[in-house]
């Protein structure tokens, strides 16, 4: 076994979950940045959200350009955190589908493993509901690929994954989290501009297209940006409250100390 286990920092986990839960209509994907220890434990410190150019079902592939851009990002993170960081894995979501990787996923993972033996794959399965018990479920799994014998089909290998608790959300993960609305907006603008660059559009079509663009942006705001902003503001409030309480406790303790 190339990798013994994966330790996923909870703030990076948060970004993945947020990303996976952002849409039930298509699979989302991203890359994991971190380091591999001598004990072959893969430590994931942050993730990068990627745009999918090919949105066909179950065609989750990362282009060489994206991998290259991610490596550059990893270097930037290495500079910030002072630790050796590189791309150590990939993640994608399976909305309404089982958490296990498909044959395509296993083959894609095998391909990445050819470049890096310790490359790991994460899958988040969401929007699952058991109609009988009205139970909703979100699952996540970690895997690698192995070939039983030369020339045979690749198979999934389970890798233990543990989420490592953190007191606070790191700056890097915070930046990744707010990248999502930015990416969505960019995609929408690109599509709109492409259509509008066609010369011969009549006024009615232009109105129609403008309305679609506005509607889609509003949809993004209500589903992604709005809740994200609300959550961040609530968290800030809570943190401020924590600070006040801690200061009060400090005062009390100082007084107790002075009384001794």
């Amino acid at each position: 076994m190339a990798v013994t286990s994966v330790h996923l920092e909870s703030d990076a986990f948060l970004v993945c979950m947020n990303h996976a839960l952002s849409t039930e209509k298509e699979e989302v994907m991203g890359l994991c940045i971190g380091e591999v220890e001598v004990t072959r434990i893969v430590h994931i410190h942050s993730v990068i959200i990627l745009r999918r150019s090919d949105k066909r079902k179950d065609r989750v592939e990362i282009s060489p350009e994206q991998l290259s851009a991610a490596s550059t990002e990893a270097e930037r993170l290495a500079d910030i955190t002072g630790r050796p960081m590189r791309v150590v894995g990939w993640y994608h979501s399976h909305p309404h589908i089982t958490v296990w990787p498909s044959h395509v996923d296993v083959r894609t993972q095998a391909m990445y493993q050819m470049l890096d033996q310790c490359f790991v794959g994460l899958i988040f399965s969401c929007f699952i509901e058991d109609k009988n018990t009205k139970t909703g479920r979100v699952l996540y799994t970690c895997f690698q690929s192995v070939q039983a014998q030369k020339g045979s089909e690749y198979e999934r290998v389970e890798i233990p994954i543990h989420v490592v608790p953190r007191e606070a959300i790191g700056k890097v993960c915070l930046e990744s989290a707010v990248e999502l609305p930015r990416i969505l907006c960019q995609e929408e603008q690109d599509t709109y501009r492409k259509i509008h660059s066609l010369a011969h559009l009549d006024p009615v079509t232009k109105i129609h297209n403008g309305s679609v663009f506005t509607k889609n942006l509003c949809s993004q705001m209500s589903a992604v940006s709005g809740p994200l902003l609300q959550w961040l503001e609530d968290r800030l409030e809570q943190n401020k409250q924590s600070v006040v309480e801690l200061q009060q406790e400090k005062e009390r303790l100082l007084q107790e100390l002075a009384a001794l």
């Binding site: 286990s5 839960l21 952002s22 849409t23 039930e24 209509k25 298509e26 949105k55 909305p95 958490v99 969401c126 929007f127 509901e129 018990t133 009205k134 139970t135 909703g136 479920r137 979100v138 699952l139 996540y140 799994t141 970690c142 895997f143 389970e158 890798i159 233990p160 994954i161 543990h162 969505l184 599509t191 709109y192 492409k194 259509i195 066609l198 011969h200 559009l201 009549d202 006024p203 009615v204 079509t205 109105i207 129609h208 297209n209 309305s211 679609v212 663009f213 509607k215 889609n216 949809s219 993004q220 209500s222 589903a223 992604v224 809740p227 609530d234 809570q238 924590s242 309480e245």
Partner: protein
Amino acid sequence: MAPSDKIGFYDYAGKINEENLNSILKDRRKNVIGWYRFRRNTQQQMSFREQIIHKQLTQLLGVPDLVFLLFSFISTANSSTHALEYVLFRPNRRYNQRITLTIPNLGNTSQQGIQSLLSAQHLTQLYPGLREAQNADSHSTPEENTEPSEASPLSRITFHTPSAPERPSTSPNPPSYANLLSQDDSLLSSSSPPTSAALLPRPQAVGSPGHPTPGPLGMGLGLGLSMGA
């Protein structure tokens, strides 16, 4: 959501400490609709203590239909796969205590109606009446939210009103922009000369001398029609 891990609002016997509860809630008290609990490796049922806490909370907060959201966490033996399960309860009701929890996301907040970007070729493909309208001298202001019985062909384009998003339903597959673009190329070769702004007549007010009698239209028009597939 207000996690109460620092100060608990109930004790081991399940008795609620009102003072602690108030200090956690402060002025958000009137907005409380329920409470949640996260447990690992346990059943998806309310524990006895949770039930008595729920009764007290219902009374103290004055919310008759207070809900309880239960999160439980289970993992496989080798810790490779983990599941977070969630159930929403309405314990104050006698029947149908469990409710489906829907997570609003990009896939289900899209409202009915306008979905796809179009280019001129598609517009004329969708609405053959448009061709006639371009040839005739007709009024071209689209009417909102109405399906007028007698109107010029172009004004038959209706915008579906979005329904109130109480329970967001999954909208039918909207065609992706990319499909439309590729269809563009195929249509360019097969269709008649593209519509240009010059061909469309300038809008004229209804009742003006130039206003024509409505032409025949075969189908009901709606921009909610999905293109292609």
